[in-house]
Amino acid sequence: MRRAILAAAAALLALGVSTPAAAALQVFACEPEWAALSTEIGGDKVSVYAATTGVQDPHQIQARPSLISKARTADLTVCTGAELEIGWLPMIVQQSANKKIAAGGRGVFQPTDYVKLAETPASLDRSQGDIHAGGNPHIQSDPRNMLPVGKALADRFAELDPANAATYHARYAAFATKWNAALAKWQAEAAPLRGQQIAVQHRSWVYLENWLGLHRVIALEPKPGVPPSSGYLAQVLEVLKKQPVKMIIRAAYEDGRPSEFVGQRAGVPAVMLPYTIGGSDQAKDLYSLYDDTLNRMLKALK
């Protein structure tokens, strides 16, 4: 009996260990947008696992066993950084016992290291809410950021997997060309949005605001990560009376009630934006993510 159990256990382990690793690099991407970018750059040379979906709040993810087992075999983590994942990723990395992806190693790639971050707090105190020391981490809301991040990612892939360096660089060049064309298209489409006043639910759109030339009048959260009380929303309504906005935007993963509440009373559309791939049915990949984002905002403008 004991022998049978041991044999079964050994077989099980062998099965697990010999899982085919055809791709050279195992990538653990914390968010869907970085998973998609990793696939754009890596193609079939990388195997990409997306740890979260578009409807999950990347600030707060449970350190589930499935994530730990995926991190165990990863060669590289591609996670936003700037403390976005501070509540869960360190636990997964520690429990994964995988030194490749331990902090400070070359197996850690943080897109926020490659763009200039906005809203870097002057002082750090939790009374300010859920602030990030490095600055606002929601850089994927500006598609222009995909270029410097993609370039650095290609370099990192090439460094970790020199045999396929040529492929990574070539794929990046092709991506950059396509992406620049898409940027030009989006910028033309977004022309009516330039200079428009908006309200946001959580301050996760500063890069989108910069990109489209939107003017943020107010955030519905009194402090980052602190849900608004009804009293605070009444104050927001007062502000919106004096400074009307065209729409109130929020991410797919956020509770829609505050923006719906304010939107109804102020007579302003509350717009759910996909925030990342999978946040809406239309946002299926990197390109349709921004297509859908612009569509939804332009529709609200009418």
Binding site: L15, Q62, P65, S69, E83, Q95, V115, K116, L147, H169
Partner: protein, 469 residues
């Protein structure tokens, strides 16, 4: 007359000379100013010309590179050069990025406290009201360690903790947790070093730490689901087992989560005690596995075993001190299920957990030779129904233990009871870092039942710690 005229002429000349002597320096100064301004303008112009032409050159270069990349996209040579300080390097398309130019250089200064460990502090405060005297309250049939007993009545400062944690070097991390109990005595709750760079999914730990057996055992008091631990933990493990020893864990490279581990401890802590030998007094082994059912629900299962030896272990019981010498074996089966809509626990989530304990204690209870089995279990569920608010329910029970007649009247006397307790919980979180809870327990572990009402606040401040599953 001539003299007057010549004098006048001389005067005029003198005057005019004087006048011109006056006028000439002013004109010269003006000219010099003009020249200086001209020179400055020229300098500025040439400087800007230089800058503009430099910028033009960079733009041209960037365009060329972009064009080259475009022209021969699939070719390697056209790919941008590898470099890590990427953002300022003119990547194709970089010219568009006006708002995201280069990050400003960060002032990096070195100071003596730059390498200080992360310091985090946990504060706990309680108010407890009992319908019966907690000092006399027992779990029928079980000798309890001090930690396993119920909390004091009235206001009290519960465990306050200070944790200092940091990487020691590229291979080790260290963690020290000092806790201050309500008795004002500081104690070293955990002090361990842990490997960070072993290959093959191995992790080694040494020092004093909570054992990884069971599901709740490894958690610090501020991370417990309820204010207190369920009955089996209190009766069989003295609340939670932590001791001085070593641990090895191995995370299998399987597509699902599978972790195996073993520990060896000194064996000085309840349920062990009095161990002073070369060999370890306590050994444990555990297996953890788990996965996702779908994007909304996940699970964890664990099987654990702990064997410990006690040599004249003394506990304070309601009828005087009790001693136990012998072996104590305990197996624990644990199941945890978590649900969060779409995997997003912020607004709503449910955590269900249950554990089953099967133990055997053998040899000498007080002065009586005996062997007995103890079984217990608990199930608990916590439902966060809206952000910041949750409610929970727990039922815990221990089977009645059978003891020889000679132990009647001692602490080990089960009093004919099968101890059980039911608890309800309401929790309000101000944020991830602040929490207020109220718990009501109806405890049927003694001859007469005890109703216990507890209020507690818990705050955590310092670096943002990551949460375990």
């Amino acid at each position: 007359m001539k003299a007057v005229a010549s004098l006048a002429a001389a005067a005029a000349v003198t005057l005019s000379f004087a006048g011109s002597a006056h006028a000439a320096p002013a004109a010269q100064a003006q000219a010099a100013d003009m020249a200086a301004i001209k020179a400055q303008v020229n300098a500025l112009k040439s400087e800007y010309d230089g800058k503009i032409s430099a910028l033009e050159a960079r733009l041209k270069a960037a365009e060329d590179r972009a064009a080259a990349a475009e022209a021969s996209a699939p070719r390697v040579t056209a790919a941008p050069p590898a470099s890590f300080a990427a953002p300022t390097d003119a990547a194709p398309g970089e010219v568009i990025i006006a708002d995201n130019a280069s990050a400003e250089p960060v002032q990096r200064t070195s100071s003596p406290n730059a390498m200080n460990p992360g310091v985090s502090v946990v504060l706990n405060g309680n108010y407890v009201a009992d319908s019966r005297d907690p000092a006399a309250q027992r779990i029928a049939g079980y000798a309890l360690s001090d930690d396993g007993k119920i909390k004091r009545r009235g206001f009290s400062l519960d465990e306050s903790e200070i944790t200092l944690a940091a990487n020691v070097d590229p291979f080790l991390l260290a963690n020290l947790t000092i806790s201050f109990g309500s008795d004002n005595q500081p104690s070293v709750e955990e002090a361990y070093i842990q490997s960070t760079a072993l290959p093959g999914g191995l992790t080694l730990k040494a020092g004093r730490f909570f054992s990884a057996i069971g599901y709740l055992n490894e958690r610090h008091a501020h991370n417990w689901t309820f204010i207190d631990m369920p009955l089996p933990y209190r009766a069989l493990l003295g609340r939670q087992y932590g001791d001085d020893g070593v641990q090895v864990r191995w995370l299998a490279p399987t597509p699902f989560f599978l972790e195996l581990g073993a520990e060896a401890y000194r064996g000085d802590r309840f349920p062990g005690g009095g161990n002073d030998k070369n060999r370890a007094g306590t050994q444990t082994a555990f297996v953890h596995t788990g996965g996702d059912f779908n994007s909304s629900s996940s699970w964890l299962a664990a099987a654990s075993y702990i064997h410990t030896q006690a040599h004249d272990r003394v506990t304070d019981g309601p009828v005087g001190p009790d001693t136990f010498s012998g072996s104590d074996d305990l197996g624990i089966a644990s199941l945890v299920y978590k649900w969060a809509p779409g995997g997003n626990p912020v607004n709503q989530n449910v955590v269900l957990s249950g554990e089953y304990f099967y133990g055997r204690q053998r040899r000498t209870f007080d002065t009586v030779a005996a062997s007995r089995d103890s079984r217990g279990w608990y199930v608990q569920g916590v439902y966060q129904f809206t952000p910041h608010w949750s409610t929970g329910l727990r039922y815990a029970a221990l089977d009645r233990v059978d003891v020889p007649v000679l132990l009647r009247g001692t602490t080990f006397d089960p009093l004919g009871k099968s101890p059980s307790a039911v608890s309800g919980l309401i929790e309000y979180d101000t944020s991830e870092f602040g929490r207020f809870r109220a718990e009501l327990t109806h405890d049927m572990s003694d001859r007469r039942s005890n109703d216990e009402l507890m209020f507690q606040y818990t705050v955590v401040y310092g670096p943002h710690g990551a949460h375990r599953y």
